[in-house]
């Protein structure tokens, strides 16, 4: 058994700050590989043109420390706190918020958070949305995920009928991607959460986006089969990169699932644009 360990809030803030700056400037290799593969397989000329600009953009952003996209996102943070951690020097949640505040000011990121009704900007991109879990051990794992508005706006949670089954789920996900069309800046990554409660399905759909792009669900063959079937279908919609036409509407479909109530079938679809930013650090 690992012993009790003290972790300072100052370390947490700095970790959060560094993560948000880093992921806003640098696209992950998994995304870049998927985009490069798409350039090789895309047969629409305009589609390829868009994909090539996206790859070029990642090079420029990384080289010049410029945000990949002007929408540097709502800050979503997943934090797993080991039960043998003793957090010192302050309040863990506030430490995370402070890290976000610092990242968005020192990293020259756009502040995109506002009061939902007055639409007044909070000026420092807080509050971040924090999902905390308590886990075994004496470490803290922090995942930073700035989420753009354009793709989040095309996402949804619904409760289907149990009798809708696999076919109903597939139809629903394909519908969502078709109706989103060019708005979420395709190519997209489609996160799907099945089961749990309404809010848990939404959380699963977002966690599904944290997987390396294109990595199939490992726990359940039914899900990895659905992932590849849905991907094939959305890529025959014709939408293509940026909606300009082509076969690359999505780079991947990732599904996560958990058991649900006997009367329900919650399904959430979380659309992520190609600027799929996330990074993690274990303290």
């Amino acid at each position: 058994m690992a012993g009790l360990r003290e972790i300072s809030c100052r370390v947490v803030s700095k970790t959060v700050r560094d993560l948000f700056i880093e992921v806003n400037y640098r696209l992950g290799d998994d995304v870049l590989d998927a985009l490069q593969h798409a350039v090789d397989t895309e047969d629409s000329e305009l589609g390829r043109y868009a994909l090539e600009r996206i790859i070029e953009n990642a090079e420029i952003a990384g080289r010049e420390s410029l945000p990949l996209c002007q929408d540097t996102g709502l800050a979503v943070v997943f934090v797993e706190v080991g039960q043998d951690v003793h957090v010192v020097d302050g309040d863990l949640y506030e430490a995370i918020q402070e890290g976000v505040r610092e990242a968005y000011s020192h990293g020259f990121l756009r502040k995109s958070v506002c009061d939902p009704l007055s639409r007044e900007n909070t000026s420092d991109n807080t509050p971040a949305v924090i999902h905390a879990d308590i886990v075994k051990g004496n470490k803290i794992r922090i995942v930073a995920m700035p989420k753009g508005g354009g793709s989040e706006n095309m996402s949804s949670s619904v409760v289907l009928l149990p009798s809708d089954g696999i076919e109903g789920i597939k139809q629903h996900v394909v519908d969502m991607v078709a109706k989103a069309g060019p708005n979420p800046c395709p190519p997209v990554i489609v996160g799907v959460g099945i089961g749990g409660s309404l809010e848990m399905s939404a959380l699963l759909s977002k966690k599904a986006l944290l997987r390396p792009v294109g990595e199939p669900n490992k726990g359940d063959d039914r899900l990895s089969t659905m992932e590849s079937e849905i991907l094939k279908e959305v890529n025959s919609l014709g939408t293509g990169p940026q909606g300009y036409g082509g076969r690359t509407t999505a780079l991947a479909v990732h599904i996560e699932m958990m058991p649900c109530h006997i009367a329900s079938l919650p399904v959430s679809v979380n659309i992520q644009c190609h600027v799929a930013r996330h990074g993690e650090t274990i303290i």
Partner: protein
């Protein structure tokens, strides 16, 4: 891409007539930026017949709010936001002389009709290439509504902005063309509410 046409602002009538949905172009010259609030204010002033803080004639409006510029830089990362939020104001601005719009995503029927009627054009900018586009901005200056922060209206000098014509003055629509060419994909079902978009 083989043929990328170079065009300049102010947008001439004959250029607008020639551009077709699906054309890749690079745009150079002066453009304006504006988002929701700036649009509402221009719309209100225009509807009341008041003078606008900017001259829209022949102008191109980029729906964008950049990231803050680092010291010494002209501008931060800049790219298109979703155009439909501007739809209810756009026909009025086109009526007041606006010739081109740069954004992403589908436009309303009214906007598409107004584009046809006034020989205007809607360009798509690639969403998520904001570092690349930032390097093609040669100057940036706030021209109206400075109190809106990143959403203030700016005048930009741009060189070779990579754009694609989405809606042209003849009624062409690249987004429609793209999905009508699709093969055997299943059709969207009837029961997903379209209002979700």
């Amino acid at each position: 891409m083989k043929d990328i046409r170079k065009i300049h602002t102010p947008l001439a009538d004959e250029i607008c007539r020639e551009l077709s949905a699906g054309d890749a172009v690079t745009l150079s010259g002066t453009i304006l930026t504006g988002r929701d609030v700036a649009h509402r204010r221009l719309f209100d002033a225009g509807t009341r017949g008041e003078a606008l803080p900017v001259d829209l004639r022949g102008m191109v409006m980029f729906y964008a709010a950049p990231t803050p510029a680092r010291p010494g830089r002209i501008i931060g990362s800049i790219g298109p936001t979703t155009s439909m939020r501007m739809d209810r104001y756009t026909p009025k601005l086109i009526e007041l002389g606006l010739k081109g719009m740069i954004g992403k995503g589908r436009r309303s029927f009214e906007v598409r009709e107004s584009i046809k009627e006034h020989n205007a054009v809607y360009f798509g900018a690639i969403g998520g290439v904001a570092a690349l586009m930032s390097r093609r901005v040669r100057s940036a200056e706030v021209v109206a509504f400075p109190e809106l922060g990143p959403e203030a209206m700016m005048r930009l000098e741009v060189v070779d902005f990579p754009l694609v014509v989405i809606n042209d003055s003849k009624g062409g629509d690249l987004y429609e063309d793209a999905v009508s060419r699709r093969g055997d994909a299943r059709r969207p079902s009837e029961n997903t509410p379209i209002e979700m978009l």
